[in-house]
Amino acid sequence: MNESILQTEQLKAFYVLDVYGTPKVVKAVNEVDLEIKENEVYGIAGESGCGKTTLLKALVGAIEPPLRLVGGRVLYHMVGDEVDIFSLDEEEKRRLRWEYVSYVPQGSMSVLNPVIKLKETYRDFIESHASKDMRADAFQIARNHIAELGLPLKILDAYPHQLSGGMRQRVTIALATLLHPRIIIADEPTTALDVVVQRGVVQLLKDIQRRLENTIVVVTHDMGVQANIADRIGIMYAGKIVEESTTERIFGNPHHPYTQYLINSLPRFGDKTTRKSVPGSPPSLVNLPSGCPFHPRCPYEMDICTEQVPSLVNRDLNHKVACWLAGEGEYGKAS
């Protein structure tokens, strides 16, 4: 059983906006309890607008107005110590990021400076984050790292626009992992990429995880990618985690109706029978439905679902679900 490395307790982060006099509160992260362990790949799956990106921002402590931390804690377990990231000042947070936890945002290929060669970007990065003795060997460190990851060395002498899209994404991931962080958080690393390139990126992430024996948190709505890369998965819906378990259990026996829909809405080879996607649309995070946020779209909606919010509880061994449907085996897959 691995040790826990990152934990959230009843985390609540809302956007408080004032658009020309009308206040809007977007409940992007609404009481999230996560426990992410060392040496694992943890996947967070959910549709656009469920609050995934905000959750990631909260995890790295990047909370700036209009986003506000309304409640809860984000704890990092480092070398036996428990540190709440929000208790650190700016300088400490900055050091924590990139050395300990590294964040690869969506569309991160654009992070590369288009007018300088890649090796310069790497050197700039090392100079601003690494210790003095590392700076002297900046180029060598970059070279070693690239070679370790199996990427060709000649790309360091290239400009970003000369590389293919997939290569740029991988270069950015390599950049994010240069200082061997203990936690890598990747926000939709494969979205908008072609299948083969996507496979290459997943391959790279798994190589890194195996080599560094660290933790990777992958956020993506693509359940196929989750199946390939994650050890454990947390399904996110409307700012809450509604199901969490190992990958095998999530796919083998999904409990929450939303998870069932997510898996069954994907087309499969060899099967041309009609499939259905999740009906309706994701709820507005400003105007959440009462009780369970999924009940307007849920085929098994009961009265209690409209009244009370189910909490995330252990139904099976390490299989947590937030749903009022009790018992097992009563409900099959959604199709």
Partner: protein, 284 residues
């Protein structure tokens, strides 16, 4: 109206609105002026502000307050003519050059760039000297407008160039919309903040340029404008003779007008900016 209510939340808009209302009232008051502004010696010269003459009188024998109302009115007229005519030209040139591209674009931009490079001031001085006899409000306005459009034409053109590449252009084309309608209906909303702020900036610029020309005596100094008032005040050494009520009137009026116009343009263009408009759309 909801629009006005939203605008009033911006302190800059409130200030400019207030100032401009006052200036407009002044301009309208000129229609009720008891004295003819072009005559001399209508009232005793060089008297300090009093109950009868609120801002005193000048060395020409004119009541400064009523003179100022005419000055404000005429300055506004000149700048409005200058700004509006140059807007129309800038929009036409910018949109045609941007959408058509090719040789049309090159020719139009050549003309526009040439006007930008020609030294403005010398040309203005020359034109003013040539047209001095025929100079009136409209002529002066048109003269200023001839130089006010090139910069904005290029701005509008770049906007059109980028909008042409957006996918909704293709949707509109597939919906069967013709070129002219497409440019007007699809692109104009994006150009609105630009057009509006450049209109107001142009007005400011026109007033300023008119004042400059007037101080140099290159306009018809018998027509009262903010510039000509300033010219007369300097001519009669009102600073040296400490007749502050005369020189300060056009200066203070001009100052308030400039600040008001600037803040008006900034607050309205922020309101009209597509990015904030999209934000507002969600709350309506």
């Amino acid at each position: 109206m909801k629009v006005l209510r939203d605008l009033f939340r911006d302190y800059r808009f409130c200030f400019s609105f207030g100032v401009l209302v006052i200036i407009l009232i002044l301009a309208l008051l000129s229609f009720f002026a008891p004295y003819d502004p072009t005559l001399w010696n209508v009232v005793p010269k060089d008297t300090k502000p009093s109950a009868e003459h609120i801002l005193g009188t000048d060395s020409n024998g004119q009541d400064i307050f009523w003179q100022a109302t005419f000055a404000v009115r005429n300055s506004l007229i000149i700048s409005l003519i200058a700004a509006m005519v140059s807007r129309v030209v800038a929009i036409l040139v910018g949109m045609i050059a941007g959408y058509k591209g090719g040789s049309t674009d090159r020719v139009l931009m050549f003309v526009s760039d040439s006007l930008l490079i020609i030294p403005l001031f010398l040309t203005m001085v020359m034109l003013a000297m040539l047209l001095r006899q025929h100079m009136n409000l409209v002529i002066l306005g048109l003269m200023l407008s001839a130089f006010g459009w090139p910069w904005d034409a290029r701005l509008i053109r770049s906007l059109i160039l980028s909008l042409r590449e957006r996918e909704f252009t293709e949707t509109a084309v597939l919906s069967g919309t013709g070129t002219v309608k497409l440019v007007l209906k699809e692109y104009l909303p994006f150009a609105m903040p630009l057009i509006f702020s450049t209109l107001i900036n142009n007005m400011s610029w026109a007033i300023g340029l008119e004042m400059t020309l007037a101080i140099l005596g290159l306009v018809n100094i018998n027509i009262p404008t903010l510039g000509t008032m300033l010219n007369w005040a300097l001519f009669y050494q009102s600073i040296l003779l400490q007749r502050w009520w005369w020189i300060l009137t056009p200066v203070v009026l001009a100052l308030f007008l400039f600040i008001a116009l600037y803040w008006l343009s900034v607050s309205i263009s922020e309101y009209l900016d597509p990015r904030t408009r999209i934000q507002r759309v969600g709350t309506q």
